[in-house]
Amino acid sequence: MAVPRYWREIPARYNLIGKRCKVCGRVYFPPRNICPVCRRKSVGQMEDYKLKGTGVVESYTIIHVPPPHFEGEEPYIMALIKLDEGPYVTGQIVECDEKDVHIGMRVRATFRKIMEDGEKGAIYYGYKFVKEEE
C-alpha cells in the first residue's frame, strides 16, 4: 500500500488525536467528520481533541490465527477498550500475561510498532495498550 494511506492517519494512531463535537461536546475516536447526534449542525464544528489514552477492558480475545502481517507474533491479546473520554477502541494489549488479562482491567495507550509492510516496505506505528499500574 502507498505510504500516504498510513501517513494521513498518523495524528490519530501516534498521538490519539480524535474529534470533539463543538455543538454537544461528545468526543469521537477514531476521528469522525460528522457527529451522529448533531449531524448537520456538527458540519465544520468537529475540532481535534487529544485523548488521554487511559481506559478499561470491556472484552478481550487471544489471537492464535493471525493475519499475514502478524504471523509469528501469535498468541497475542486484542481487546475492546472503553477510553475514559467515552469512545471505544480496538487494540492490542502487550506486556501482559494472557492469564492476567480480564474484563475491567485498567489500561493505558503506549506508542509501538504495529507492523512492517514486507521486508523492504515501510514500518507502521501506532498505539498498543499496557496494564495501568494502580
Binding site: 472484552s59 487471544i62 475492546l80 480496538t90
Partner: protein, 388 residues
C-alpha cells in the same frame, strides 16, 4: 407493490471443490434453479449476484455479466448486477431481486450468490475476510474476523454466564443437521469434547466454533405471485424482505451482546409479514461462529437476551425442538462460501416449506425465516417465506 414468489432453487455442493472454478460453480447453481423453476434462460428479465470478494479470492471483478456469459445467455443482454455486503451479499442479492419484482420493473429475476475461497493460500483468506471489518481501525492493529466474534463471545459469557459448552452445543447440533444434508461440506457428527479439543483460533472460539472456508454457489428464481403458477406448482411466497445497517467496526456499536442491525431488520420483517417470532416454524440463521447463532436466536426474538446458550444446550433449537435452527447444518457444517450463504439459506427454507428436506424435514413447516449478516454486524438481511 406486487406479491413475490420463489419459483425455483438450485445450489452446488458446498466444500473444498478443487476441481471447480468460480465460473463452474455459478453456472451449475444457475442452471439448477432455472430447471427447477420450469423456465427457460430467455425468460429471465434481470439477474442479481451476491459476492463478497471475487477480486480478493480469484482476482476477478465484474462477475455479473460473467455469470450471464457462463450460463450462455449473453445474446439476451439481460441486465446483471453484482451486490456486495460482505457475508450478507447473497441476502442482499435476494432482496434486490425481491424489490425488482415487487416494484413491477422486472418479472422473472434470477438471484445468485457465489464465492470461490480455496484458490488463495495460507493466511490470505483470513486477510480477505478481514476486509469485512474496519481495515483502518480494527484489522490494521492485528484484529481478525474470528477475533471480533470472540470479543462478543467473551462479553456475552461475562454478562450472561454463557458457557464454552453452550457455544460448542451450537456446533454439535449444526454438524448433526449437516450429516443429513448431501450438499453440506461436513457430514460428520461431532461432540462437545471434539469442539473443546480442537485448536484455539481466537479465545474463546475454538476451530470447531468457526465456520469453514468453502467454495459454493446458490441461486433462486423469483416471479410475481400472480404469474408464478404459469411455470410451476411449487410456489413459496416471500412474506417479508428487510435490511438494516450499523457501524462496520464493532467498537463503534451501541452494544456488544447483540447485533442491533439484526434486531432492527427482524422487527421490520415481523411487521411486514404480519407474524410474530412464535409463528416461525424453521429458521436459517447466520452462524459464522457459534456465538453468532446464540446472539441471532435472541436478536430474532425466539429467546430472551442472554438465554440463547441455555436454549441451545437444552435442545430447543434442534430439528424436533421448539424452533428448529439451521436444519441445513448452517454455515458451520453446510459451509460458508460467503457470497452464496444468503441464497443458500433461501434454498433450505424453500425446501423445508415444500416438504423436500428429506431426513431433516421439519414437520408441517409453513413459515420460515432467514437471517444473513455481513461482517461483524454492519449489515443484516431478514427474509420471511411462507407456503401459499
Amino acid at each position: 407493490m406486487r406479491e413475490v414468489a420463489v419459483i425455483g432453487i438450485g445450489m452446488t455442493k458446498f466444500g473444498e471443490l478443487w476441481d471447480k472454478s468460480f465460473r463452474d460453480l455459478v453456472a451449475e447453481a444457475g442452471v439448477k434453479a432455472i430447471m427447477d423453476a420450469g423456465i427457460e434462460g430467455k425468460d429471465i428479465d434481470a439477474m442479481y449476484i451476491g459476492g463478497m470478494s471475487s477480486g480478493g479470492f480469484v482476482e476477478q471483478e465484474h462477475v455479473a455479466p460473467l455469470a450471464i456469459e457462463v450460463a450462455g445467455l449473453e445474446d439476451f443482454h439481460i441486465p446483471a448486477t453484482r451486490v456486495e455486503g460482505a457475508c450478507a451479499s447473497g441476502g442482499l442479492a435476494m432482496r434486490q431481486g425481491y424489490i425488482a419484482v415487487a416494484s413491477g420493473i422486472h418479472d422473472i429475476v434470477l438471484v445468485g450468490g457465489a464465492e470461490k475461497m480455496t484458490d488463495v493460500v495460507g493466511t490470505e483468506a483470513t486477510n480477505v475476510l478481514a476486509s469485512a471489518a474496519d481495515r483502518e481501525w480494527e484489522a490494521f492493529f492485528g484484529m481478525t474476523f474470528p477475533g471480533l466474534y470472540a470479543l462478543m463471545a467473551r462479553y456475552h459469557m461475562h454478562k450472561y454466564g454463557t458457557t464454552q459448552e453452550q457455544l460448542a452445543s451450537v456446533a454439535v447440533k449444526n454438524h448433526y443437521n449437516g450429516s443429513m444434508n448431501p450438499n453440506a461440506q461436513f457430514n460428520r457428527k461431532i461432540s462437545i469434547e471434539d469442539v473443546l479439543a480442537s485448536p484455539m483460533v481466537a479465545d474463546p472460539l475454538y476451530l470447531l466454533d468457526c465456520s469453514p472456508i468453502t467454495d459454493g454457489a446458490a441461486a433462486a428464481i423469483l416471479a410475481p405471485l400472480d404469474i408464478a403458477k404459469k411455470y410451476t406448482d411449487k410456489i413459496v411466497k416471500i412474506l417479508a424482505s428487510t435490511q438494516a445497517s450499523d457501524t462496520i467496526s464493532l467498537h463503534n456499536r451501541k452494544r456488544f451482546d447483540a447485533l442491533p442491525a439484526a434486531i432492527h431488520a427482524a422487527r421490520q420483517a415481523y411487521k411486514m409479514a404480519g407474524v410474530e417470532p412464535k409463528d416461525i416454524d424453521v429458521a436459517e440463521v447466520h452462524d459464522c461462529f457459534t456465538i453468532a447463532e446464540i446472539m441471532a436466536i435472541e436478536d430474532l426474538g425466539f429467546f430472551e437476551k442472554g438465554k440463547g446458550g441455555k436454549a441451545t444446550e437444552e435442545g430447543l433449537t434442534a430439528i424436533d425442538g421448539q424452533i428448529p435452527i439451521n436444519t441445513s447444518g448452517g454455515l458451520k457444517a453446510k459451509g460458508h462460501p460467503v457470497g452464496a450463504t444468503g441464497v443458500a439459506q433461501i434454498n433450505e427454507i424453500v425446501m423445508q416449506l415444500r416438504g423436500e428436506a428429506g431426513k431433516r424435514q421439519v414437520k408441517d413447516a409453513e413459515i420460515g425465516l432467514t437471517h444473513n449478516v455481513g461482517g461483524s454486524g454492519g449489515t443484516a438481511v431478514v427474509h420471511i417465506l411462507g407456503v401459499i
